[in-house]
């Protein structure tokens, strides 16, 4: 018995030592990006895109010689979009690697892991969450969002509406989830400031199938614009087709997670004219100001969804923070990396975002309004880039 225990102990020690070796040797000259990526489970459609985006940026950078002599190394683990599994992945990855950057898969994970990030003080994190709550550099000093938070997304939509139709009546339709409720209260105030009238707020229970009751309410509010939030696809198409049957004149709009090209096109005919806010250019944008998208298209000929762009941009911002920290001869600590990230001013993303970006707090408060063109099966820009101050 004792011999078996000894043997297994020895085996574990040897394994640990050899596994640790390459990492330890290379540690001085590499930058590690860890990630709890939802490769399976309900959020896999996003996770697979995010994974590919980070992977491609890392490859592109390493092929070009790395960053100040450092190679990027990406260490992902599947999180299945479950907080416990995400945390386990985080523990595993950070205990086996000297992680500088981390990609988290959800708001819940970002909040759960925050004390750990503060304690470690060695890495900064972004992720799939656009939660308004995370946009607080005091509470979340080592995190950021590679885009506008949900309130800012609403802000961009509301600014557009105020421009198009001053004093317009607006309806908010949202799901009864943390995700859905996120921007509602704060956006009420924003709408008021912009002189808009929030005619009705309709909350739908999570997983609601039939929305006829909600539709009966929405119809009576006679809103000029209806903003959906807290959904991916359903029940948005049903709202739209019912309101078309009723001849309702309201412009439907959505936020980031609804706005992927493939998601909107799933709505079929209901998609026609659907609008929404998107902080990034779409994969197929071939304007001269987007050379990075050209590169992406040469690497991947198939359409890549917006989570891909988000993952790609996240990796780009990680790399830029590392570059600035290393160039200044500073230690790669969380504080220095975050300071470097916040020093980003008028930064050219190669056209992933159509205007130069600055990251002052924890977000990039930029976006553009797009409109669905069902015939072309594409989202086409309906406004200029809107930058919130």
């Amino acid at each position: 018995m004792r011999r078996t225990v000894l043997k297994s102990l020895l085996a574990t020690a040897v394994l640990a030592a050899t596994a640790g070796l390459p990492a330890a040797q290379a540690a001085d000259k590499e930058i590690v990006i860890g990630g709890s990526i939802p490769m399976s489970g309900v959020f896999a459609f996003a996770g697979i895109g995010i994974h590919a985006g980070i992977q491609d940026y890392v490859k592109m950078t390493n092929d070009a010689g790395g960053i100040e002599g450092h190679m990027l190394r990406y260490v992902p683990e599947d999180s299945a979009y479950k907080v416990d599994q995400s945390v386990a992945a985080f523990k595993k990855i950070t205990s086996q690697n000297k992680v500088n950057f981390y990609y988290g898969d959800s708001t819940a994970f970002s909040k759960t892991i925050n004390p750990e990030l503060d304690r470690a003080g060695s890495m900064i994190m972004s992720g799939a969450s656009f939660a308004t709550e995370l946009n607080d550099p005091q509470k979340f000093p080592y995190q950021f969002i590679a885009g506008p938070d949900y309130t800012q997304q609403f802000g961009i939509l509301l600014r557009y509406i105020a421009q198009q139709k001053p004093g317009a009546k607006v309806a908010f339709v949202y799901s009864d989830t943390e995700f859905g409720r996120d921007p509602i209260e704060s956006s009420r105030g924003v709408a008021k400031e912009l002189g808009l009238n929030v005619a009705i707020e309709i909350m739908t229970p999570p997983g609601a199938v039939d929305v006829s009751t909600e539709m009966a309410k929405l119809r009576r509010a006679r809103a000029d614009y209806t903003i959906f939030h807290g959904y991916i696809l359903g029940p948005i198409p049903e709202f739209i087709s019912q309101s078309r049957q009723l001849g309702l004149q309201t412009q439907f709009m959505g936020t980031f997670w609804t706005m992927d090209n493939s998601t909107v096109m799933q709505m079929g005919e209901a998609a026609e004219g659907f609008m929404g806010v998107m902080p990034y250019n779409y994969y197929y944008d071939d304007s001269a100001s987007a050379p990075m998208l050209e590169k992406i298209r040469s690497m991947r000929t198939e359409y890549q969804n917006v989570p891909y762009i988000q993952g790609f941009l996240s990796a780009m911002l990680y790399a830029e923070s590392a570059r600035r920290t290393l160039a200044a001869g500073q230690e790669m600590s969380a504080a220095n990396l975050k300071a470097a990230l916040n020093s980003i001013e008028n930064f050219d993303t190669g056209g992933l975002i159509g205007v130069p970006i600055s990251i002052r707090g924890n977000t990039i408060p930029v976006g553009r309004i797009y409109r669905a063109d069902v015939q072309a099966k594409r989202m086409v820009p309906a406004s200029d880039w809107i930058v919130l101050e």
Partner: protein
């Protein structure tokens, strides 16, 4: 301020529409429980499989929608029979909680199958119902809800007739009321088990196609089954009539709560009903008293 009667009417219609779907799925649940005494928590996922089969046949294989639905319903029935044979029948005689846990496992396997084949991306079924608005008096009833209700009502009527007059239906009722006696009367009880799972899976598939047509399909649409669980507990696990009444009742109450109080009160209303019914009639509104509780 005048009370908006039209609003109330529309909301009640919407509730009846949703209730029809609850009742239909509840019927599938009760059928399995009645015949086999299995609390089938995978009912929502069986409904999902039906919807996805239909989606796959209509999109990947380009079948016309009516044929896709037909094939999906038959396919689901076969899948139901297979599930019963592979996962449920070997559990005969085991404690109810074990069988219950098997159905929990089944649910997660079915979700896995859907995610493997169709990924977890939410999708839409092709439109197949008429889209002209339906007006009952002055009240607008969304066409999908209206036709969904018609289909549900027709199917329920057919199922009730089958229970009453067809030999297989009578065998099913006999098995439900006394297995031993049914055996001794020469009823092939294992075949009744198989039949009940097959028919329940077929009914669930139809409910799935309607639910999918209204709300879209995704690998999480099985949660619909949870609302149905409430419906059948309120109605009485082994009562077809209970499933019908409770389905409509909960549909309408949810709709009224959502319409007059707000979306956040929908589930609250549902579970209030559940608690009250469990307190007053623990075996459900129309259930048999000696139901074995888990």
């Amino acid at each position: 301020m005048d009370f908006d009667w039209l609003f109330l009417t529309e909301i009640v219609f919407a509730g009846l529409g949703a209730g029809g779907l609850y009742a239909l799925t509840g019927l599938a649940f009760v059928m399995i429980y009645k015949a086999t005494r299995v609390v089938n928590l995978a009912i929502g996922e069986m409904l999902m499989i039906g919807a996805y089969l239909c989606f796959g046949l209509a999109t990947a294989m380009n079948l016309p929608m009516w044929l896709a639905i037909l094939v999906a319903v038959i396919g689901s029935g076969m899948a139901g029979a297979l599930l019963e044979r592979v996962a449920i029948r070997p559990m005969l005689g085991e404690s109810p909680i074990s069988v219950f846990m098997v159905t929990v496992g089944l649910a997660s396997i079915l979700v896995g199958v859907v995610e493997l084949i169709w990924t977890s991306e939410p999708r839409r079924l092709p439109e197949f119902m008429p889209s002209a608005p339906v007006m009952i008096g002055e009240a607008f009833v969304p066409p999908k809800v209206f036709y969904g209700f018609l289909v549900a009502a027709t199917l329920i009527a057919v199922a009730l007739a089958v229970f009453r007059f067809w030999r297989g239906g009578v065998a099913l009722r006999a098995t439900a009321s006394d297995q031993q006696a049914a055996y001794s009367m020469g009823i092939n009880v294992p075949r009744v088990f198989s039949l009940s799972w097959t028919v329940a899976a077929m009914i669930a598939a139809i409910a799935g196609v309607i639910v999918g047509a209204v709300g879209g399909i995704s690998s999480t649409m099985g949660v619909f089954g949870l609302s149905v669980l409430v419906v059948v507990i309120v109605g009485g696990l082994d009562s077809v009539l209970g499933a019908l009444v409770a389905g409509l009742l909960i549909g309408v109450v949810e709709s009224l709560a959502g319409g007059f109080l707000g979306g956040e009160y929908k589930l609250l209303a549902t579970f209030m009903i559940l608690i009250v019914v469990l307190l007053v009639r623990p075996y459900g509104l129309f259930g048999t008293h000696e139901i074995e509780r888990l």
